[in-house]
Every structure is written in structure tokens, then in C-alpha cells.
Amino acid sequence: MTLEFEQLDRNLVVKLKGELDHHSAEIVREKIDRSIDRGGIKNLIFDCSKMDFMDSSGLGVMMGRFKKLKSMGGQVVISGINPNIDRVFKLSGIYKIISKYENLEKAIEKLGEGK
């Protein structure tokens, strides 16, 4: 799994590339939290358009970031999910707390500048 970060206003876009499992989850979590802790970020967008595989360990990472940002008044959204990964998300009921958008542009449009 490789990660790409981009900060747009107060939104942090994290592009996940490759396979997100328990092994990669530890690194992903650590890198994201380091970015958040640097400050200036309100919302997090997981861009999953280049993510080929995800198991329930990925759910844990996303829920963990949701909790962290919620306590700071922000939110987490997901974009670009392929059908296989969508099934894992649906099973978990995560969409009740984390919104899903077709693509990154729509997610950003919805979040605005994150003020």
C-alpha cells in the first residue's frame, strides 16, 4: 500500500493505492495521524479509487479516523469505492457515519473549504 497526501484548504485528501489489510493498516494509521496532529485539518477524505483490496482491518482504520476527527468537530468521507470494497463497507453499516461519494470532486464539493 502506498499513500498520497494532499491538503485542500482544511480538507486532507488521502489517496490509498494498493491493498489495505492489517499489515498496511498500521502504517496508514500512523501516517495519517501524524498529518492530522500537525494541525490545520478539519475533514478527511479517503480517495479509494486506486485501492484494489480491503478487508475489515481497513474499516477499523476509517472508523478510528472518524472518531478522532469527530472529537475535533470534523468529519470523514470516502470516495471512488469499487464494488468489492463497497460490500465490506455496506456489511459494517459504516455509511451511517461516513458518507460515500462517487469521486473525489464530489466529495470536495460537498465538504466545501472545511471551515
Partner: protein, 146 residues
């Protein structure tokens, strides 16, 4: 080929999770599954192997045993650890239940296995280990030419 089987033993290390699901996918590929079916198997294997590593062996030294048996267009997959075992299997299998929320586990592993495979059976003995048996029949075999 009517039946075929393999057995794999790996160190209980997180870097072997992707290796384990790759091996099972490569073994099952001869049944010419759809990409979705193949992903289902990979995901279920990933869940069971991850559980063996984090829960069964508490991220300490150990061996995970994976076996696959292909019989016509059905695959039987067994994932076994000789770790701590599960006290209450019913509770363990409840959606969202996890004994390790501190590790940011979602508690969805068993639910994913159940949803992605046709059947799953769990047997476990405290202090002895856990055996997960999963089965899946592929539809796509009917479209095969050779």
C-alpha cells in the same frame, strides 16, 4: 482435474497476510472464478489469517496453517492456529464484537467471512487453538471451455 489440494504453513507475521491470500487465490484460479468470486475468497482468507495472527497468537511467534481442497467447482478452505483459542464462539461471531478495540479492530472479520463464503464453521479449544472451515462453490465453472 477433479480434486486437488494444497497445504501451506506460514509464520504468524503480518507481512504474510497478503502472501496467504495470494497463494489461495492462485490455487483457486484454476476454477476460473469471476473477479468478484476471487475477491470474496481473498477477503475471507485475509480475515481468518489476520485473526490467527492478532488474536490467536497475540502478534507473537506462531505458525498459521492454511489448507485448500478443490472438489469439482467447490473449494474448501481451512485456516488453523495453535494459539489461545476462543472462549465464546457465539459472541466472537457477533457483528461489531471485538476483544481488541484498542488495536482499532472493527469486529467485522467473522461477518465478512460469513458474507463472502457460502458457509463457515468455527471450532476452538482454549489454549489449543482455532480452526476455521469455509466453503465456496463457483458458478463460473459452467462457462469454462477446457
Amino acid at each position: 482435474m477433479i480434486t486437488n489440494k494444497m497445504r501451506l504453513e506460514i509464520d504468524a507475521k503480518s507481512e504474510n497476510e497478503s502472501f496467504a491470500r495470494t497463494v489461495v487465490a492462485a490455487f483457486v484460479a484454476r476454477l476460473d472464478p469471476t473477479l468478484e468470486e476471487l475477491n470474496d475468497v481473498k477477503t475471507a482468507v485475509s480475515e481468518a489469517v489476520t485473526n490467527a495472527i492478532i488474536h490467536g497468537y497475540n502478534e507473537m511467534k506462531g505458525t498459521v496453517y492454511i489448507s485448500c481442497l478443490i472438489d469439482k467447482n467447490t473449494v474448501l478452505i481451512q485456516i488453523e492456529d495453535h494459539g489461545i483459542g476462543i472462549e465464546d464462539i457465539g459472541k466472537a461471531m457477533e457483528p461489531l464484537y471485538t476483544s481488541k478495540p484498542d488495536l482499532e479492530r472493527s469486529g467485522m472479520g467473522f461477518t465478512v467471512m460469513e458474507a463472502f463464503m457460502d458457509s463457515i464453521n468455527v471450532t476452538s479449544n482454549i489454549g489449543k487453538g482455532t480452526l476455521i472451515t469455509m466453503k465456496k462453490t463457483f458458478d463460473s465453472i459452467h462457462n469454462r471451455v477446457d
